[in-house]
């Protein structure tokens, strides 16, 4: 079980290999990699800057991880999230879950991404040819996270 909030770029393939190694007890490992897009709603993006609050951001994500673990009974979870400047094409977030059966692993990863997209304490600024703007979650992100409270 681990949460890493870091400025360094990461290699999602390598993280997945390391996480998956030697897991004879797991029937399934599910991973998601979020990548910085080069456009948002048609506007060009040259840099994404994520502001984190060290000492506050990590515990908030750790709480989400603990809830996912309790809710879906997964065996292990790793969440890696970058902050600082991020270029289009680079990975921003990586979530991987291991469970005895695939459904729990899929659902825990899906749940964690929905929570991260709406509630993780990050502040995002996009810069592009049209200037800079601060980003808040999209309506679709809020709809996504609501799916989990209806159950």
């Amino acid at each position: 079980m681990a949460v890493r909030v870091q400025t360094e770029a990461f290699d999602a393939g390598r993280l997945l290999s390391e996480f998956s190694a030697g897991r004879a007890e797991a029937g399934g490992v599910v991973s998601f990699t979020g990548i910085c897009r080069d456009t948002t709603a048609g506007a060009g993006v040259t840099t994404l800057e994520l502001d984190a609050y060290p000492g506050f951001t990590e515990p908030a994500i750790e709480a989400m991880e603990a809830e996912a673990r309790a809710r879906f009974g997964v065996q292990d979870v790793l969440i890696v999230h970058r902050h600082g400047p991020i270029a289009p094409g680079e990975a921003i977030v990586f979530v991987v879950t291991a469970a005895e059966h695939r459904r729990a692993a899929f659902e825990a990863a899906d749940y964690l991404m929905d929570r991260l997209k709406t509630e993780a304490p990050f502040w995002k600024k996009e810069s592009g040819p049209d200037g800079q703007r601060w980003i808040e979650p999209r309506d679709g992100d809020y709809q996504d996270v609501k799916r989990w409270s209806a159950k």
């Binding site: 993780a120 502040w123 992100d141």
Partner: protein, 80 residues
């Protein structure tokens, strides 16, 4: 001295990220002090969805402050 931390767009509005100041007695007194120095920042701090954290814990109401506290003002979070 206490540390005041601004996150997200509040940093752009104020033109600073972090500073130390003589501790006012309460969170509301700190907001008043910041407003008197910089009305644009003061108004942004009173804006919808802006939360305050004392020593990394969100505070829903006015609280007493002590020297060495770290106060952060957090605009609505963008998510990851």
């Amino acid at each position: 001295m206490m540390k005041v931390v601004l996150l997200g767009r509040l940093r752009d509005i104020a033109g600073w990220r972090e500073r130390t100041i003589d501790a006012p007695a309460t969170l509301s007194a700190l907001r008043d002090l910041l407003y008197r120095e910089d009305a644009a920042l003061g108004e942004a701090l009173a804006g919808k969805g802006v939360q305050a954290a004392v020593n990394k814990t969100l505070m829903r109401e006015d609280v007493a402050l002590a020297a060495n506290d770290e106060i952060a003002f957090l605009p609505p979070m963008s998510g990851g």
